[in-house]
Symmetry: C2
Subunit: 214 residues, 2 copies
């Protein structure tokens, strides 16, 4: 059975992101030689993901490895970046100029990874017209037009929960393709809009297992 | 070969967190009846994780399921909460009263999940002595003593990268057991201190795969 790319499970995609990070670290340590290969069992040892699973995940997208030799690291990184869309720039807007919105605008990791913040939106007249770093704060009333005119790819929702659905609807009306939602509620969105709900408390949960053993 | 709990791979622990969330959603929808069972193949369909992997992950910790019937949902949630340390309260301090630090203090999800923020630390004299919500901002000089006196479990690092190692060292000196690091650098820590590096750009990366298909 062949899977179309749209049917590939989200967890497979998430694992591809993990393989990509793992290979980036290998390049940091071992350099960018084209002759460096890595076996699925080495990736398994570094990521903790079963090597059969790794081979299966990668095989969805092509035959990247050579039996008995492994995967060419540099080439596999490029293939993964292409598959994951990490080799291009993405336009992002942030809805909500509160503390989290401000923190995200100043977060250096986004630009480095190709996520370019084009504007921040709020309804507070005291904030509208000001800047955070070199990014302007616009009236949330302009959100829909801004997304359409500037062809924005991703909207980040950091408004209070009670306004989240309303602001998400504006994003959808403007033609947003994906929403990263930090608000603690499930949004109702048309199926063509991709959503990722962020729960920061999840970041703690891996740690508590180990603390529990102490 | 039996694994001691300390040797269980981090990705297994991360998957247990995913199963836990999945079961919580099932309880939300289906209620808290003790008679509700779920098969590993149903968990697989909901999480996208292979059912053999699910059975293997859970079998590290005990025989929770019945062949041909599945896992009792309520009981498995309780077992997972016990394994993951999610059935107790954890004391947390935040180092860095910038935008991200302020946002984390106000983040409602933490308290709900048992992560209780006991203080926030900064070196800015204009911030020290003020409050964010009902949490006081203390001088970072008091960090070590505070951690020791209040028996703090987890330190959250949201200081600029250039101060992160220095502040982490203070946390370690105070006896912190785990650090959640938002600063974009690798910290050098003694092996007994558990670290989790947060990279918020990772949250975007699953989305771009789908955008890339458009």
């Amino acid at each position: 059975m062949s899977l179309t790319k749209k049917n590939i499970p989200t967890v497979t995609i998430n694992r591809l992101c993990i393989y990509h990070r793992c290979l980036e670290k290998i390049i940091e340590v071992e350099g960018k030689e084209e002759s460096i290969f890595i076996s699925s069992s080495k990736i398994a040892a570094l990521t903790g993901i079963n090597s059969a699973q790794i081979r299966k995940d990668l095989a969805y997208f092509g035959e990247f490895g050579k039996r008995g030799i492994g995967y060419p690291v540099i080439n596999l990184v490029k293939e993964l970046e292409n598959i994951l869309g990490l080799d291009r720039k993405w336009s992002v807007i942030i809805a909500g100029a509160g503390n989290l919105g401000k923190a995200l605008v100043r977060y250096k990791g986004f630009q480095k990874r190709g996520f370019l913040i084009k504007g921040i939106f709020d309804k507070d007249p005291l904030k509208i017209g000001k800047k955070i770093g070199h990014i302007s704060i616009y009236d949330v009333k302009e959100l829909e037009k801004f997304i359409r005119d500037k062809n924005i790819d991703i909207g980040v929702l950091v408004v209070p929960a009670e306004f989240a659905q309303e602001v998400a609807d504006k994003m959808v009306a403007g033609g947003i393709k994906a929403i990263l939602n930090f608000a603690p509620l499930r949004l109702t969105l048309p199926p063509e809009v991709k959503i990722h709900n962020v729960d920061l408390s999840f970041e703690f949960e891996g740690l508590t297992y180990y603390l529990n053993l102490c």
